[in-house]
């Protein structure tokens, strides 16, 4: 599989989509849709083409800046492949979810979506730290535009906040990357940004600890974890539907991916020392995110805070340092991609119909739009962690593994699933149940287009919930290679 | 002969004060010429005849005349004197003087030390010229570029002014 071509293809599709607006206003979204479908098929074919137990599905090395040991070094291992496939899938969802929402500058909109996704694919497959940082920034700027141009009433505030948080934390990571390269250069006399070589760099433990912290802060800001989560509710609330879907479904996962791949992968010992703090932040995110979600009255903000809670499971799972918990973190990433993307799509659909995200202006919508109600119910239930659906597998594994590592924190995190029930059901109640709000007139229920994507995501979640083995098999070699102890 | 220096110095100071405090631009320019000429005398007395000549020719001759041209073009008449009086309230002098007087005193204090006499030797145009086109050649070139840039800039600014004037007429 040619990853470079995939990334460049998405970039190129973005440019073509932007240009095609001159031909027809609706041409960009079709181009974008086709691009993501092709990307999904291409990625899946690589998956299906490889035998089971494959550790690397593709590897590509192209020269870039040889003086500084910088290469275009792209690798798809199981974890990357899974996330790249998820990216392509959610790309489709994002395009469909804003099918009729965007009324101006269609071309540039799809351009941004495609470029974000290209950047994300790059992030998931780059094994050269410089290249990784490059893609990290590439995905940031189109996202900024998505929020700042097509966002809602308070968009520039939200976009700037998003940008600053990510940028400042990215700066920390850049600093950590450069220091790592420098220290490696001092030790070996070779300048390299190669992941595998830097992994073997012998570092002073103190230095490694600080460098790990640089990566850690960058990734938990993206994840996000308490206490650096506050950009997320604003960004989600203000972003257009496609933006929220991408943000929740994919961009947050880059944080989780980064923690696994870089914070833990590059500095296993330092991360071990740091494990309790990581788990603490995870548990804190779970409880605090859930609690904040309950206090919101804005549909999107509520879901955004619930994302914080779900991302806490990732942190908890990764820093429990055992296979079960880490697999839980990985499954949570995928399942959360489905469930939260669907909820944001729902929020977008409601906003399009009601011109509001306030839950107080909803109520009794089930009567008016039973299909929307049923879909929301399904995804709320998924997000509450119902067994048989993907989120449960992830959260259960994370907690089960975490319990082996740290009992009190796991108990605290388990309380989070009670809180999840509180906010999830309260969302359902306030939006869809109760007396129909008299201010809401007739609203259009979901049509075939929306139902198709919703059902796709439902199938995804059920599949993850009853037979997650495919995902587990994909990530197992990666987790083993991290040197995480089995149980 | 030394008294000549002090006379020139006092003249320079007095005329300069009149420049700064004056209300009529043309008069102020005349005082400025006086001041510059006094300084030229001092240059001469310090043994720098070439500098003195340049002071007279370029400063008093060219630059100040340029000022005069502008004053004439802007046609600053009686009204402008009245406006100056309005702009120049006595109280406005306080704050700047609070700054400049200490600066003056400080500088004087800093520069005073054991009394040193100037060499009293003449440094003629020839020496200056050899130096100028020897070690300082690069600086001369740079100064030339600066003047060229100023020329272009002044032309640009002035041309638009003139063309607009012409349209009005």
């Amino acid at each position: 599989m040619n990853i470079f071509a995939l990334i460049m293809g998405l970039f190129a599709a973005g440019i073509v989509a932007a240009a095609s607006e001159r031909v027809h206003a609706h041409a960009p979204r079709w181009i974008s849709l086709i691009a993501f479908v092709v990307a999904l098929i291409y990625t899946s074919s690589a998956w299906l083409g490889a035998g089971s137990g494959t550790e690397e599905y593709a590897r590509q090395v192209l020269p870039w800046i040889p003086q500084f040991g910088i290469q275009v070094f792209l690798v798809l291992d199981g974890l990357s492949l899974m996330l790249v496939a998820l990216t392509a899938f959610l790309g489709i969802i994002a395009v469909v979810s804003s099918w009729s929402e965007i009324s101006e500058r269609h071309g540039f909109f799809q351009f941004n979506i495609l470029w974000v996704m290209a950047g994300v694919v790059g992030v998931f497959s780059a094994f050269d730290l410089f290249l990784f940082f490059f893609f990290w920034e590439v995905m940031l700027i189109p996202m900024y535009f998505l929020i700042a141009i097509w966002g809602h009433e308070n968009r520039s505030y939200a976009a700037t906040k998003f940008f600053l948080f990510t940028q400042i934390s990215g700066l920390l990571m850049l600093f950590a990357i450069l220091s790592l390269v420098y220290f490696n250069y001092q030790a070996t006399g070779v300048i390299t940004f190669n992941y595998f070589e830097l992994r073997n760099a012998s570092l002073d433990p103190d230095v490694a600890w600080w460098l790990m912290l640089g990566f850690f802060v960058a990734f938990i800001t993206k994840l996000p974890s308490v206490p650096v989560h506050t950009w997320l509710p604003d960004a989600h609330t203000q972003a257009p539907t496609a933006g929220s879907v991408i943000l929740a479904g994919i961009l947050l996962k880059t944080g989780g991916y980064g923690v696994i791949r870089f914070a833990v992968g590059l500095f296993p010992e330092a991360s071990q020392d740091f494990a309790t703090v990581g788990m603490l932040l995870g548990a804190l995110s779970i409880v605090y995110g859930g609690y904040m979600a309950y206090s919101q009255s804005d549909f999107k903000r509520l879901v955004a805070y619930s994302s914080v809670a779900h991302m806490g499971f990732i942190l908890l799972g990764v820093y429990a340092f055992n296979e079960i918990a880490m697999q839980g973190a990985v499954v949570t990433m995928v399942a959360h991609g489905f469930s939260t993307a669907a909820l944001f799509m729902m929020a977008g659909a409601l906003q399009q119909r009601l011109h509001s995200r306030e839950l107080s202006k909803m109520g009794g919508l089930w009567v008016l739009a039973p299909r929307m109600g049923a879909m929301t119910l399904f995804f709320v239930v998924a997000s509450v962690g119902m067994p048989g659906l993907g989120n449960f597998v992830g959260e259960f594994l994370a907690l089960l593994g975490a319990f082996q590592a740290h009992v009190p924190l796991t108990i605290a995190a388990t309380i989070g699933i009670v809180v999840a029930a509180v906010y999830g059901l309260s969302l359902m109640q306030r939006a869809f149940q109760g007396v129909p709000n008299p201010d809401v007139g007739e609203i259009e229920d979901f049509g075939a287009r929306e139902m198709t994507v919703m059902i796709l995501m439902m199938i995804g979640l059920v599949w993850l919930g009853v037979y997650p083995q495919l995902v587990l098999d994909l990530s197992a070699p990666v987790i083993t290679s991290l040197g995480v102890a089995g149980l | 002969m030394e008294s000549l220096f002090y006379i020139a110095a006092v003249t320079a100071l007095a005329s300069t004060v009149l420049v700064v405090t004056g209300k009529n631009a043309s008069h102020a320019l005349i005082y400025l010429i006086v001041s510059l000429l006094s300084v030229a005398v001092i240059f001469f007395l310090l043994g720098a005849p070439f500098a003195a000549a340049l002071e007279v020719v370029v400063y008093a001759g060219a630059i100040v005349v340029l000022f005069l041209f502008v004053v004439m073009m802007l046609n600053l008449g009686k009204g402008s004197v009245a406006r100056e009086s309005a702009w120049l309230r006595p109280s406005m002098w306080i704050l700047p003087c609070l700054l400049t007087v200490p600066l003056f005193l400080g500088l004087v204090y800093a520069l005073s030390g054991e009394p040193i006499q100037t060499a009293g030797a003449m440094v003629g145009p020839k020496t200056v010229g050899t130096q100028l086109f020897g070690p300082y050649l690069l600086a001369v070139e740079l100064a030339g570029i600066l003047l060229l840039a100023a020329l272009v800039g002044a032309y640009h600014l002035g041309r638009r002014y003139m063309s607009e004037r012409r349209e009005e007429m």
Binding site: - | L29, V39, L46, A51, V58, Y59, L103, V123
Partner: protein
């Protein structure tokens, strides 16, 4: 023929500093741009005087050379500045240095 006198260097410097400070006061006080420019000329001239005096102390040409550069600078400055003055009076019908201020603080 030598007209050069031996003058206490200090006195020349005092004169230069005095001229400089008078010029500075002018710059700070005057609102009329013409006077501001004249004051600037005074200040530059004072600097030139200091250089020449210093050159005269050692009977070297360098002081005069520096004076010539200051001269060039003054000429350039005046040329451009007067062009601006013309524009200023044309656009704003005023010679007030602050008349072109569009900042709101």
């Amino acid at each position: 023929m030598n007209f050069a006198l031996s003058i206490p260097l200090e006195h020349v410097f005092v004169l230069a500093v005095a001229l400089f400070c008078i010029g500075l006061t002018g710059v700070l006080v005057r609102r009329n741009v013409m006077f501001v420019l004249m004051s600037l000329e005074v200040m530059m001239n004072a600097c030139g005087l200091a250089f020449v005096a210093a050159g005269a102390r050692w009977a070297q040409a360098d002081g005069q050379i520096m004076f010539m550069f200051i001269l060039a600078l003054a000429a350039a400055e005046v040329a451009v500045a007067l062009g601006i003055v013309l524009q200023l009076s044309r656009r704003f019908d005023s010679l007030d240095v602050d008349s072109a201020n569009e900042m709101h603080s």
